[in-house]
Amino acid sequence: MSIKTVFITLLFASIFFLFFTAHTTFAAACQPNEAGIFHCKAFTCFNAQTGKYEYDEHTCTVQTVGFPQSTCQALQTSSSRTYQSTALANTNWDDIDANLNCGTPPGCNQGTHGDNIPTCSGGGGGDGEGGGSCPTGCNANGDSCRATGSHLLPPVSVCPAQWIGDRCNDIPCAYRDECSCGSCLNGCSPSCEAGGCVGGGGEPTPTPTPAPSCSLSCPGTEITGGNDGGAGGGGGASGTAGGSSSTTYTAAGKAEGNITFTGINNFNCSVFTDENGYTGPCPSPTIVSGGGGGDSGILGTWTTRSQSSSKSSWSGFPFASYLSKLLKGTGITNSFSSVLGTSTLLAQANPGGGGASGGASGGTSGGSSTTWTFPEDFHILEQDQPKKYTATAIDSGGGASGGGQCACAVTLTCPETLQEPNEPGAIIEGCDNQCDFTVNPAQQHNNVETTFELEIPNGFDNITIDYDDGYGTTDSLEDATNDSSFEYTYRNAGVYDVAITCSTQPNGGGSSRSCTRRLTSYCTGTNLEDLPIGTPTPSPTPGPWMKVQDSSVHIRSSVTSSVPSGALAFDASDTATCSAGNPNSLACFNSGEAGGIVAESSSAEFGTEISKKGWIRRDENYAMNSLMTPSSFIEYVKARKDYKVVTALTADQLETNRIHLFDPETTALVSSDAIPDMIPAGSGMVIIVDGDMTIDMSALANQAFNQSKKAITFIVTGRLQISAATTELNGLFITNEVDFAYDYVGAASTPLKVVGNMSAMNSPLELCNEHRARIDSRLKPTCLFQFDYPNQFPPLIDMISTKTYDWTQLVPTSE
């Protein structure tokens, strides 16, 4: 064999080898139209040699799912685990945290991508959530230890947008040159440039040290958050701000409002005393600092919703409910609640412990608990023995914060005027001739049995009663008669808002009504005959109110929707903030990224807080210019769009990604999720009803329409009628008119949440908060309208839009 032959053979062999071993490179991008086996680049690993973050390639099987084909699914070859990405075409998996895990590169930090893989902390000062310990091998390989969170693109020649303006300490080394950190400006850490984990996991990102401060306000002196410097407290090397406030309630043993504590940087709420002998730890949390990693400090807040509508007294038993949230820089990572109740124990989760121990190394929120024993009989309010409660926030003195404190106190005394619970002035809510009760005796001391005699002449004979005793004590009767009654003995003096719910079916089923009256229990030793008759207490309970999230609003009628102070969330999804300075604040009409509000009424009432932007115009002369009504949209569709005429809203006639025109002989009815169930993920459907339409989800257990949030739009030229039992709608609902509880006269007791958007061209006869009034808590909005752009608009944008045309006559030019 000649050398030439050997050479040619080797050449062909090389070509053959390359041909059969070459893989299609997935190139870290989702190519929805392609499926098969790819090399995918996942995980950014820090290469100490190059000082750059790099991708590592692994084999994945990628398949296309859904429509439009913008969703990919990657199957990890090694373990056949499935990760679904919402990646759009030509975007990087890691760029959007695609949950794609093609194996963990050895020595690289194990980003979790939602897995239960231990995450990296204890160094490195991650750029996101951190916690646990640094994975084995991180140090040995000299890899920079990174927490989960941002998954970086390969190095580019410009500073990536997400890092522009950030502190250099927060910018990965790989990008520091591009982000003008090369000269260690803006706090750049030289040790990072050396690369690698140093001393247990890389260079820690120092926790920014905001100026220590605290604020504390008592009921009646609520603050909106932020630093509340002022008298009191102080001290400490750095001049810790402090403040104090005090409120005395002498008319009744009832206090309303919040005690709010806000502390930054090592503030602890460490003392809570009733000044009658008890001094102990604060309800929760006892530590509001800690954490570390890339977080810019932790804001801890505890709030006591002490007396409000459902809790009645600072006196006696500790009725207060304490709700706490722990916020980290990137969002809420922990929330919990603890209740001071009949058990006399305050069990509390305590955030921040782990952070404290982890120091600046990026620990996650740890956990510890404190038990606070409240002597059961100690707090009975008695005549001439007012109770004073003081909460004090004290700086722990750690770090540079020095010491300092702020405090507030609430003093309670016995009721001093005689109140009549059976008069109209005592009605808090409801109480009509279908559902009411009388209190007998009208006035009594504590520890005396009280009888609640029902007044239910017609039908609403399934009764539940909430005694508002602070323990959540309730009672119920089925098939109650008009003279049925409940008996209860209040152990402590105070003011109680007793609520009954009258329904036509057991357990609140069927139609229901409600009635809440306020009664007063007087202190032992008080001579009732000597008390002056009090004037009826104006209802302190807020009326039903509406809330909007992330939307612009136009209201055509006069509106009264007063947001109460201490407002609570509608449900767990209602987390958008109402205040730029207080991320915990939920008390506003339009939360989140609120748009402008235009109310065609000069007296439109929304309470004190409109939104964190405060954009509102009250103008009785404003006349909304509606260019695209449901009727005119039909004409547009007929002229310009592809549509299908259907004779029923059934699966055999409806098609996904289609506009349907339905002209019902009678009112169209939607009573199940059959329509959204037939829509694949990523697709949508538009249904135009030329007439009226009813949505009644009472047959479903969740009483919700389209909880899977499929993209669906109803455009109704007539009236959209929502049954009172329906509690949730998901989709776009564009209608000429809307009736929020068409089958109910008066105010239905069920709340309503609309996720998507609701737009009615004409003012309804009754606004949502006029036609519905939830009874579980008036501190929660009765109606919540959440604007949902991602789920509802992009899949339908071609179907629910118009086009503009700009016509120009040009002068021809000779060529």
Partner: protein, 271 residues
């Protein structure tokens, strides 16, 4: 010329007068006739040109229609569209990018949908891309600098939307102080940094808030704040040129068809 009138020869004299009058009349009539003939000829030519002009105009508009109906059209021949070789010209369809984009007139309470990262009219999807440009919003109309004091006062609400994150940010341009506002306001011509509209919005909605019913509408200019950078196309620009007949009269029309516009009535929560 001397004319002698002889009283003795009265008949001959009268005969000469009649001849003279006849000649004069004939001259006048001939002049009138020739003028009329000339006018008629000109009218005929004008009418012909007008006919050709109308046909060219109609052909140009037909070209626009044809392009509108053909999603994939890039260039069409007028003669082919009309199946008539007496016509000439063509239609071009382009998706033009702009450093600054002028919106059409936006009516009171209406809005304009501006695609920051682009729109694919075939796939009917919003383009997914990173938007890292600063932005400047200018007022084109009303032109009057004192517009706030007139019935042309208006404010603009800017909403930045992400297909994944939802409402990313909202800003208000309210030089006329029409709304109570506490924060997040910009003025016309001010630069809105990209960092203030992150993360990655793909669509911007500019909504007009104008209290007066006599408001004539506003035209805005959206300028890319990055030097030499251009916004993606906001629609199709169809240019149709058509000629007809011997006169070869040419008409040229252009139509800008925007990408999908979300009606404000569907976008704003109303009750």
């Amino acid at each position: 010329m001397n004319i002698k009138i002889s009283h003795s020869n009265n008949g001959k004299a009268q005969s000469g007068q009649v001849l003279l009058i006849a000649i004069l009349l004939s001259t006048v009539l001939l002049t009138l006739g020739l003028s009329l003939l000339d006018l008629t000829g000109k009218d005929t030519r004008v009418t012909k040109i007008q006919e050709d002009t109308a046909k060219a105009q109609a052909a140009a508009e037909a070209g626009i229609e044809a392009a509108l109906n053909d999603l994939n059209a890039e260039e069409l021949e007028i003669a082919t569209i009309l199946n008539d070789t007496n016509y000439s010209g063509n239609v071009t369809v382009a998706e033009l990018t702009h450093h600054s984009f002028q919106t059409p007139l936006i009516s009171k309470d209406a809005q304009y949908t501006f695609f920051l990262t682009g729109y694919d009219p075939v796939a009917k999807t919003i383009t997914s891309a990173t938007m890292a440009d600063n932005m400047v919003i200018n007022r084109i109309t009303p032109t009057d600098s004192g517009y706030c004091a007139s019935d042309q006062a208006f404010a603009v609400e800017l909403t930045f939307l992400s297909s994944t994150a939802g409402v990313v940010k909202r800003y208000l341009i309210d030089e006329c102080d029409l709304l109570e506002a506490t924060t997040d306001e910009y003025d016309f011509a001010a630069t809105i940094p990209s960092a203030d509209i992150s993360p990655d919005p793909s669509v911007m909605i500019a909504r007009i808030i104008a209290p007066n019913n006599n408001f004539d509408g506003a035209k805005l200019e959206i300028v890319n704040g990055t030097v030499d950078a251009e916004w993606p196309a906001q629609g199709k620009t169809i240019t149709s040129t058509a000629s007809f007949g011997e006169s070869q009269v040419t008409k040229k029309v252009q139509l800008f068809q925007s990408f999908p516009q979300l009606p404000a009535e569907f976008f704003v929560t109303q009750m």
